[in-house]
């Protein structure tokens, strides 16, 4: 069951580290901590006039799950708004908390790699933390 947590997809997502780094001139930067494990995720964003994400980058001091989640965001967040990311996070949370179906197609289909995390409540935050950070960043005035 553990090996399911660290299946190839997740390891690859983490390793690819899409969007890792810093933006030279972010319109907003938000750092979020997980008080339980000390993980820390920082997201830089550049928002366009429509409040859509134009550029995104992240620094993750966290586990593989956290890195993989940030990497999915790094790959897919462009063009999203705080609201649309919120909806993605709700779907993801539903999958983790109550085994609801994951997004199996569309741009966020990669998130299905986190389905095995649902059996490990203590790790849910690891997956959700990067979403928290990017949503806060996208909301910042």
């Amino acid at each position: 069951m553990i090996d399911a947590l660290y299946q190839k997809d997740v390891m690859r997502l983490a390793a690819s580290a899409k969007g890792a780094g810093k933006l030279p001139t972010p319109t907003a930067t938000v750092t979020v901590d997980n008080p339980l494990c000390g993980d820390r995720v920082t997201f830089d964003v550049v928002m366009d006039a429509d409040k859509r994400i134009q550029e995104v980058a992240h620094t993750v001091k966290g586990c593989v799950l956290c890195q993989a989640s940030a990497s999915v965001i790094g790959a897919e967040a462009k063009g999203e708004t705080a609201e649309s990311l919120n909806a993605v996070r709700d779907t993801l949370r539903g999958m983790l908390k109550s085994g609801a179906t994951a997004p199996t197609d569309g741009k966020w289909a990669a998130l299905v790699a986190f389905a095995p995390v649902s059996g490990h409540k203590s790790r849910h935050e690891c997956v959700l933390l990067p979403f928290e950070a990017v949503i806060q960043a996208a909301k910042k005035p």
Binding site: P35, L36, C37, H120, K121, S122
Partner: protein, 425 residues
Amino acid sequence: MTLHRPTPSGPGPQKPLFDVAAVRAQFPILATLIHGKVPLHYLDNAATTQVPDYVLDAVRRHDATSRANVKRGVHTLAEMATDAYAAARTKMAQYLNAFDEREIIFTSGTTSAINLVANAFGATLAAGDEVIVSELEHHSNLVPWQLLKARAGIKLKAIPVTDEGRIDVAALPRLVTDRTRLIAVTHVSNVTGAITDVAAVVRAARSVGARVLLDGAQRASHGPLDVQALGVDFYAVSGHKMFGPSGVGALWGRGEILEVLPPFLGGGEMIRTVTLQESTWADVPARFEAGTPPITQAVGLGAAIDWMETIDNVAAAAHTAKLADRVLAGLRALGNRGVRVIGPANMERRVPVIAFAVDGAHPHDICQMLDSHGVALRGGHHCAQPFHERNNLAGTSRASLALYNTDADVDAFLNGLDDALSKLT
């Protein structure tokens, strides 16, 4: 007593019809022989209730199969312990009908729950702000406010008590002012058994924008609660008075209030970030649960709630009320020998907690003599000195019933009292 039933809480054992023998069988301690010879008649339930095997089993099972520290660990035992602790929170939230389970803070008991409010909510009060208690309060709902008064210069006012032993809510309109920030009163008196007219308290509080705290220690064993319907802001209970373990209790607080309060105790688990000089705080309820919580005890309290869900509360309340009627009638019959009930004369708006005074006989002597009959009573001021002072009583004796009590307990009590009176008066 009105019993509100929230959504039933989790699996728990099957619910049988109310059958006092079957209930007693779940409490082997009730079969104790006192002094090796007389059967125990446990009438000290207001001090602490006994625990059913179901709860003792749950407590042991937790430590024997799922023991770990909570929240911080990813290993299997840690996940099991964390899940069990979270499930206990959910059960308590359901038992109290909280809006959200995050509104439940596990504490070490009612006393620490009220101290938490007196410090965290108390930190938001300014000199001259008023807290209103009553003359009927347990010291646990008096002294924390006196300490706040000493710290912060608040003003402490007390609602008087009627001669029947009830909080005189009619006095409230005179007492509340625009400086009143909180009315903190007991839901049920641990001396007179009177159930407070909470609606009147809430109305008076709301008329000036004040908050309401209820001390629920004596109410919690009498079936599920509904803090939403009560309309209050804080509610405190103790595990050991609701068929659960000692060392645990809970504070319920309205989410929107808790969210803006500063922490009380500092330590692990209640922080977001810590540097050497400053820290930031975790969300509710973690912010108010510093350090390793009473994990096994919370799990046991959850089991006690599950166990209570197996009981038909209406039938249980009818059962204890019938016994209490007999106690009240028996005490009344001893009126000519100097016995006086301190509290309402009948079971209306009252729980089966019955204090009485005897002219010329001290409660300790009465309780000691009753003990030789196997009857466990409590004597003294029951941590309610101001109430006893007001009634010019050094103390009272108290018989308090739970659903496992029987007619035999009442008989032993009344016979024993008769015997004690003949020796002492």
